[in-house]
């Protein structure tokens, strides 16, 4: 079969047992790859009574269907498991080269269960798979571990966890070439399995039905991309390109733990300021000809020596505005600390911002914390990131995530804890983007902008099927979020970057599927894969007890209107929350409690 590695690899780290299964054409048609395939394999193999940090939790790794093939922006891969942060099914996508390497080794997915008795590295070298001792690398930061393992085990690509994953910080990342599966604590799951790294060398061919046609399509797509304004902005300034616009024109940049929605001191954290001063060149994910990453280097001063692939928009919020940190060099350093120790910058930043608010309110004292952890203190952001990553001092509690930290602190501080289902939110103040609010509520992995991506079409006002979208209205958002969730799931299953959706809608990939697989798939069929996958996710979540009351927003967003900027006064009322949710459940064909209905499941061939 074209485009695929051909096999699914199962490894049990407790017994050392390994086996493979064939990747069937039916599986590819129904689930494509990436997210779709991972969800299918996870739900087939996972017992809902198994807890996230139990040895029996299932961790799936899957490259997208297009990963490893020359499709512009199509090199993504993902990990998926039951999240230690949210308790729900959760995936996280990254652009490191391990996805492509793994497919060239002959596989489309890796299903890991069990727990090794000792720290280990799983090595996949084409057909030879072994579990190597990982003790020499245990404790190493992500970059060092990758270099050492690549050298020692003679592989081409390594995905690993940092010390935070080993110590079970609940939002630990998995890193490959300075690209991370950042969200939902999948690195924690690896740590709980004593699995430091996955190391791969693949030397096999990936075939394509019609290479000439693919090359022609590539040239066409490359042309479209290069001639679009968004391409230029992305390659020059990275994902933070629209930071000023989000603040000034839309007023939805969460600041000071979401107490404000415009960050006044944003001058330095705006890429239009820092990119010309600190960026050496652009960096891309594997297979991406758009390269929105930036090689950011600090050459002098206190944080001299800092170097990283970043800084992404989300991190400019979480370690910047959220903590009222106006200092780009400290922000870069904090970002690097998170990457090296292996923690999610979004969750870390929100945990730090939360702490700063408690200090501001006098609920915590800086004596308790052993540092001046206050809004506007850049050094505190760096220091606290380090303490979270190393699980030291107050960082130990913050490493549990803001939901657990709040319940531990007590004193009704839950009202300041920003999270949905336990996951800290990304950089969109949804009070001014109601559809995105619904997206936070319904995302299977908790507060997330990427499951639906409805922020973009609401902020701009139009996209795909919609025109004149009113971001402040609650009407029509159920249908929108449902459709966009299915849409985005297709991107994660094909392994293409969501940032290419601006150039290329689903129908744009029909000729690619034809050239690569020699398969005819309609837009409807492709979108149905997305819908199927989202129903499977909710079936799992329902089986672990996710119900209507778990689709909610943090209290602050339904109680306090936006205080400043052009979105001043905006709020999502309880009533609107329920109305949007009802519309969504209707659009999904799920019952009032979130249970997928029989007829929907039959329609999707899931029952």
């Amino acid at each position: 079969m074209h485009a695929v590695g051909g096999k699914i690899l199962y490894v049990d780290l407790t017994t050392g047992e390994m086996r493979t299964e064939e990747t069937t054409p039916d599986l590819v048609k129904e689930y494509l790859g990436g997210d779709g395939l991972a969800v299918k394999l996870f739900t087939d193999n996972m017992d809902p009574s198994v807890q996230p940090l139990d040895a029996s939790n299932v961790l799936v790794f899957a490259p997208g269907l297009f990963t490893g093939l020359p499709v512009p922006t199509g090199g993504k891969c993902l990990f998926l498991s039951r999240s230690p942060l949210t308790g729900t099914i959760a995936e996280s996508v990254m652009g490191g080269n391990i996805g492509a390497e793994f497919k060239m080794a002959g596989y489309d997915a890796l299903v890991i269960t069990g727990r090794s008795e000792f720290p280990c590295v799983l090595r996949v070298w084409d057909d030879v798979i072994d579990i190597k001792g990982g003790s020499p690398y245990w404790g190493m930061v992500t970059r060092d571990a990758q270099e050492a393992i690549r050298r020692d085990l003679r592989v081409s690509s390594v995905a690993c966890i940092g010390p935070a994953g080993e110590k079970l910080v609940r939002y630990a990342t998995i890193d490959c070439e300075d690209r991370q599966c950042g969200r939902a604590g999948l690195g924690t799951v690896m740590g709980s399995k004593n699995l430091k790294a996955i190391a791969v060398r693949g030397t096999k061919d990936l075939t394509i039905a019609d290479p000439e046609e693919l090359i022609r399509l590539d040239l066409e797509l490359q042309n479209t991309m290069e001639n679009s304004g968004a391409f230029m902005d992305d390659t020059k300034y990275g994902t933070g390109e629209f930071l000023n616009w989000v603040n000034e024109e839309r007023g939805v940049f969460p600041t000071r733990n979401w107490q404000e929605s415009v960050f006044e001191d944003r001058k330095e954290i705006d890429p239009y300021y820092w990119a010309p001063r600190y960026t050496l060149r652009s960096k891309g994910c594997f297979g991406c000809t758009k390269a929105c990453g930036k090689l950011f280097v600090v050459q002098e001063g206190k944080y001299s020596g800092t170097k990283l692939d970043g800084i992404e928009y989300e991190t400019l919020y979480s370690l910047g505005g959220e903590c009222s940190n106006p200092d780009i060099e400290a922000l870069a350093r904090a970002n690097e600390v998170c990457d090296l120790l292996g923690i999610d910058t979004i969750s870390a930043g929100v945990c730090i911002g939360f702490t700063m608010e408690l200090v501001e309110r006098g609920i915590l004292s800086t004596d308790d914390l052993g540092m001046e952890c206050r809004f506007g203190n850049p050094d505190a952001v760096v220091e606290m990131s380090e303490m979270i990553g190393r699980r030291e001092g107050f960082g130990k509690l913050l490493g549990e995530g803001v939901m657990r930290a709040a319940s531990e602190i007590g004193n009704d501080v839950e009202r300041y804890a920003m999270h949905v289902k336990g996951m800290e939110p990304p950089a969109y103040d949804v009070r001014g983007i109601k559809g995105m609010g619904l997206g936070f509520m319904t995302s299977p992995r908790g507060a997330c902008h990427l499951r639906s991506g409805v922020y973009a079409l609401n902020l701009v006002g139009k996209f795909w099927r919609w025109d004149n979208v009113d971001r402040f209205a609650a009407e029509g958002k159920g249908e929108q979020v449902k459709a966009m969730e299915d849409f985005m799931t297709v991107y994660d299953s094909l392994g293409v970057c969501k940032f290419s959706r601006g150039f290329f809608l689903i129908e744009g990939y029909i000729p690619f599927i034809r050239a690569i697989l020699d398969e005819e798939m309609s837009e409807e069929e492709i979108l149905q894969v997305g819908e199927r996958v989202n129903n499977l996710k909710q079936l799992f979540n329902y089986s672990v007890g996710v119900r209507r009351e778990d689709f909610y927003l943090p209290r602050r967003l339904t109680e306090e209107p936006i205080k400043d900027g052009v979105a001043k006064g905006a709020i999502i009322t309880e009533k609107e929350m329920h109305r949007m949710l009802d519309d969504y459940l209707d659009a999904r064909g799920w019952d009032n409690d979130g249970k997928p209905g029989e007829s929907k499941l039959r329609e999707l061939r899931l029952a």
């Binding site: 490893g68 093939l69 020359p70 512009p72 090199g75 080269n97 492509a100 060239m104 970059r143 270099e147 070439e177 300075d178 693949g202 030397t203 096999k204 061919d205 990936l206 075939t207 394509i208 290479p211 693919l214 090359i215 590539d218 040239l219 490359q222 290069e226 390659t235 050496l280 060149r281 652009s282 960096k283 891309g284 994910c285 594997f286 297979g287 991406c288 000809t289 758009k290 390269a291 990453g293 090689l295 280097v297 170097k307 990283l308 692939d309």
Partner: protein, 148 residues
Amino acid sequence: MVAVLVSYPENCTGCRFCEMICSLYHEGAVNTKKARLRVQKPDIMNDIPLVCTQCITCGDRCCIDSCPEDAISVVDGVVTIDGGLCTACGNCKKACPYGVIWIDKTAHKCDLCGGDPMCVKFCPSGALRFEEADKDSYASLLTAWRDD
């Protein structure tokens, strides 16, 4: 002087599209290990595209001299392997200072895609160019990264 591939690592984004497209164009399948150029990533700071210099700089380490069968020669400015004579002994692969020859039943190396290099066409950042070059264009590459 004739045009050859020249690499500008300071522009490279590390996307490795060049490797994928090179193998697809020549082998009809994607396999970065079969690309006739490669992108070396020694650490986070560097992405170094290593390309065939068509013998401009190779000197006494050139694949041409290393071949016991005299299977390699310069044809119209392109260092070319005669597959009929090649015995896949691997000497040329060892000799190439850039490590851009790969071997299965015969040795394979960059043929400049017959004069319209695919890798250059797809490189999004100007890290690969098809232009006239002299020894100096490659000097920094060899000092930046050398796979001995």
